[in-house]
Structures are given as C-alpha cells and as structure tokens.
C-alpha cells in the first residue's frame, strides 16, 4: 500500500518541490537582536517607512497613530489583484485539457499483447480512430484501480459522450491476472473495456514504452511481500495517435466529461 501511494501521480512531489524552492527564496535577516525574526522585520519595515514619513509609528504624545493607506494605494492594489485574476482566468482559458498536459505530444507506442479472448492485440493498430485510455493496474488492487475504472464506466455511459473511446486495461500482475480473471474484473465496470496481458518481461517493456512507472511489489524488513505498487495515471491518446494529457489518481468525473469530447475530435 505504501508503495502504491508513493508512486501514484508525481504531481504531489512536484508541488512539494515547488514550495521548497519558493521558500528558499525568502530573504534573510541578521540575527543580532535577541528577539525573533518577525519582530525584527516589523521593526525594520517600520523604520524604513518612518524614514519616508508615510507611517509615523508614534506621535509626539506617545500614543500610536494609525494612518489608513492612501486611496492611490488601495486603487493600485485593486488593479494588481484584478490583473492577477484576469491573467489566471486567461491562462485557464488557454489550457485545453483539465488533465495533466504534456509539454510535447507523444506518439502512442504499438506493442502487441494478448487480450482476454486469448487473441493477439496491437494496442495502437487495433484501436485506430478511437481515443485510447491506457491504464496499468491489477485486478486485486484494493483502491485506485476500481475507482478509476468505475469513474470511466460512469462517464462513458453518460449521454453526449463520444462513442469512439477505448479503455485498455493492462495488467501488471500477469501471474494472478489470467485472461479470465481480467475479464471477470472488467465486466464489473463495462463489458467494452479491453483487458490485456503478456509475459512479465513483456509487460515491463510495455510500461517503459509508455513512460509509466514500472510496477513492483514492495517487501518489508521481514521479507514479506506487500501490495503491488504501480503507476496511477491513465495515459490518454487521441484518435490521431498522439498523447497530450495524462490523468493521475484522483481524477473527477467532471474532468473526464470535459476532456473526452475534445480528445475524440482530434483526428
């Protein structure tokens, strides 16, 4: 479970590193004074402003005088805030997908695996003209695999959804997930979902081709094998064969409903 969570979506790590870098940009205050940094900052800021004459910290009578910021400052602040909001809105309008957008579109690999009927199945060639949603998981996954598949099943059953969407479920646990087991598992969600398997080595190779994190079982200190960790992303490829977005766990139904018609139109 621990590995499962650690590998699900790298967005958390990215955001964490972003926060770290922004915090490292903070300016430093010499610690000559015995009291804390905030107090020093307040005092320092006060002195600068006092020197400029805009904020008198104390009046001649010794009582604190608080001046309201001038109207110009308020107006400038409002303009700055509205500009920021407008730029945010513009950037969100520019973004065509709600999922994680790739910098460069990636062509879909075309590995050949075995479907649940025991037939050879080429992931790209046999799904021409469709949106392909590729997901690497396993049937005994206790949390995110059923959630992703349930979400997709719910979304694809909605009116107005494009009919040319294929969900390709590739097992990462071929020893347990026989074609029959995969079929039974997928039928809980949709009979149209395509289940694929292969040899262990072949499946590792396929995961690498899709730039997915290769699934691995974690073992604890006593050598006991725990849950299987795997990539939690759904790799989306438009009918033109290019992958522009990915959908990590958790992805809400509203995201899918917005993006799938856009992807389906890219021929």
């Amino acid at each position: 479970m621990a590995t499962d969570k650690a590998q699900h979506g790298n967005s958390a790590e990215q955001s964490e590193s972003k926060y770290q870098s922004s915090s490292s940009n903070g300016f430093h205050v010499s610690s000559k004074r015995p009291y804390g940094g905030v107090a020093q900052l307040v005092e320092r800021f006060g002195r600068i402003e006092e020197a400029r004459g805009s904020i008198p910290l104390t009046s001649t009578s010794g009582r604190k005088v608080v001046h309201f910021p001038s109207l110009y400052r308020v107006a400038a602040a409002l303009i700055a805030v509205s500009l920021t909001l407008a730029s945010c809105a513009a950037s969100s309008l520019e973004k065509p997908y709600s999922g994680l957008q790739l910098d460069e579109p990636l062509p879909m690999p075309d590995p050949v695996l075995v479907d649940t009927a025991g037939q050879r199945f080429a992931m790209r060639s046999d799904t021409q003209g469709n949106v392909r949603l590729v997901y690497f998981g396993f049937t005994s996954c206790p949390d995110i695999c059923p959630v992703h598949l349930e979400q997709l099943s719910d979304v694809l059953a909605r009116p107005g959804m494009p009919p040319n969407v294929k969900v390709l479920f590739v097992t990462v646990d071929p020893e347990t997930d026989t074609p029959n087991v995969i079929r039974t598992f997928l039928d809980q969600f949709s009979v149209d979902f395509i289940g694929l398997t292969g040899t262990k080595e072949r499946l590792v190779e396929v995961q690498r081709q899709f730039s997915a994190l290769v699934a691995s079982a974690s073992t604890d200190d006593e050598g006991v094998t725990n849950d299987l960790g795997h990539d939690g992303r759904v790799f989306a490829f438009a009918p033109d064969g290019l992958g522009r977005t990915q959908y990590p766990h958790p992805t809400r139904q509203t995201t899918w409903t917005r993006d799938l018609p856009i992807l389906a139109a890219l021929r």
Binding site: I144, E150, D154, R158, R252, Q253
Partner: protein
C-alpha cells in the same frame, strides 16, 4: 490511532477501529448527566423514564458517530453521511431534549448563563433559519471535502450538527417550558417548514445532480461495489424520505393532542355552561309562577 472518524485513503474493511475521542465524548456526556441527576432536588429523584430517554439518545449518538457508520460517513459513502445526519437530527436531538428534566436544564443554563441565548435560539424563526443554514453549509461540497478530511474538522462537523439539531427541536420539546411554542397549529407548521420543506431542496440536488458532488465520496475506494453516483442518489433519498416518519409522526401526535385539548376545553365550557344555566333555569322556574 485516530481520535475521531475522518477520511481514510485505504480500502474499506469491516475490521474494527477504535476512536477513543468518541468514547471519551460519550462517556463525558453520560457521566455528567448521571452526576447531575444525583443532585436532583426533592420530588425529582425518580425520573426513570427521563433517564432512559437520555441514555437511549446517547446510545444513538454513539451509534451514529463511531465505527462503522461514523467511518463510512466520514470517508466512503455519502449515503452513510446522510444517515448519520438524519440520526442526529431526527432521533438524537429530540431524545436528548426529552431526557433532560426541567430542573436540570434550568440549573445548567443558569450556571452557563445561557438562558437568554437559549430563549432567542428557541424562537421558531431563528431556530428554523439556524438549522437550515447549518444543513446547507455542512452539506456543501466544500465543507464536506475539507472538514471530513481531518479529525478535528470531522469532530467540528458532528458537533455543529448536534447543536443545529438541538436548536431546531427546542421550540417543540425544550425542557424549559417557556421556550416551547404554545400553539399547536404553530408547532405543526414549524415542523413542516423547518424539518420537512427546506431540507428537501439539498436532497433534490443530491438526487438529481448530474455528477457526484463530493470528491471525498467520488474518489473513495468502493464499498461493496456501490458506485459514486448511485451512492449520492441514495443519499438524496435518505435525506428526503428519512425524516418523514419522525416529522409527520410528530405532526400527527400534535394534531391528536390538539384535538384532545380542544375536546377537553369544549367539555369544560359545556360543564361551565350547564352549571351556570342550571341555577338560571331554577331562577326562571321560580319566577314562572308569578307570571
């Protein structure tokens, strides 16, 4: 170990989980009540039915808050969340109020200097608006997704539910008589509006929403294969239909009491009239011979 039920990211299992914070809260409530009851004034020592009612309310509160329903509601199922709310509102709160004797309520309110505040909150308009504000805010996707994620937030939500439910029932069953509404039709109309009509609006949203509203339940590991949309529709039905037996049962009981009271009143008036008219008749008959 967690002290209060909150969102978990692991799959649901029927393995027991202990929440010591909930046990402590339940124990505190029970012990305070029993300790208070020991200091009952004379002629009030034997209020067994009140004690039973209060303990039943506490048991229901425990059932609604603790594992498994508490955890299911905090983490996995919108329908369980709604069932919890329904238990708080329709069972726990009225039973708690019915289980508190008048002397205890007066003593408690006096000690905490809450008499005026409670009086204001027991105003039907204030109570109805407060309860429905709590209902709408605590069932908004923002509140559920943010508050249920932490133990303290989850505790705060449960606490606010209980307070809101106590407030909404106060005009009907407050232990302090002057805080109760006196008119039967007024009480019935209040119950219908505050607990019947307004909650149907968010229930309708849940039942007929195109998408799962709460990320908490939409993205939670499935419980016995129950889908997020079906679960949300179930939650809407629980909210819409679950309260009907209690609200309408209470309205029917009030109507019956009203008719009984009217009957008793008219009987009293008849008796009074007959007792007044008897001497009159005697008086009339006594004068008749003179005419």
């Amino acid at each position: 170990m967690r002290f209060w039920c909150s969102t978990l990211e692991e799959p649901w299992s029927w393995n027991f989980r202990a929440y010591p914070g909930i046990w402590a809260a339940i124990l505190l409530l029970t012990c305070s009540y029993l300790a208070f009851q020991r200091r009952a004034p004379r002629h009030h020592e034997h209020e067994k039915s009140k004690r039973r009612t209060f303990l039943a309310a506490v048991a229901l509160l425990w059932l609604a808050t603790d594992w498994p329903l508490g955890l299911l509601g905090a983490s996995y199922l919108a329908s369980a969340h709604m069932l919890q709310f329904l238990m708080y509102t329709m069972a726990v709160a009225p039973l708690l109020l019915l289980g508190v004797p008048e002397w205890m309520a007066r003593r408690l309110v006096g000690r905490l200097r809450l008499y005026r505040l409670m009086g204001r909150c027991a105003n039907p308009v204030v109570a109805g608006v407060l309860f429905n504000a709590v209902l709408i805010v605590t069932h908004s996707p923002w509140a559920v997704d943010n508050f249920r994620g932490t133990q303290f937030g989850s505790f705060a939500m449960d606490f606010v539910w209980l307070i809101g439910a106590l407030v909404v029932w106060a005009p009907i069953v407050s232990p302090i008589p002057e805080h109760r509404m006196t008119s039967y039709p007024g009480r019935m109309a209040y119950l219908f509006l505050a607990l019947g009509v307004v909650p149907a609006v968010p229930a309708g949203f849940l039942t007929f929403a195109g998408f799962p509203l709460y990320a908490t339940y939409e993205l939670a590991p499935r419980v016995h294969g129950l889908g997020a949309t079906t679960d949300q529709q179930l939650a809407g039905l629980v909210m819409k239909l679950g309260g009907i037996p209690v609200v309408w049962g209470t309205i029917v009981a009030l109507m019956y009491r009203w008719s009984e009271a009217s009957r008793a009143e008219s009987a009293l008036v008849r008796d009074e009239n007959s007792s007044i008219s008897a001497p009159d008749r005697l008086g009339q008959s006594s004068t008749e011979p003179d005419q």
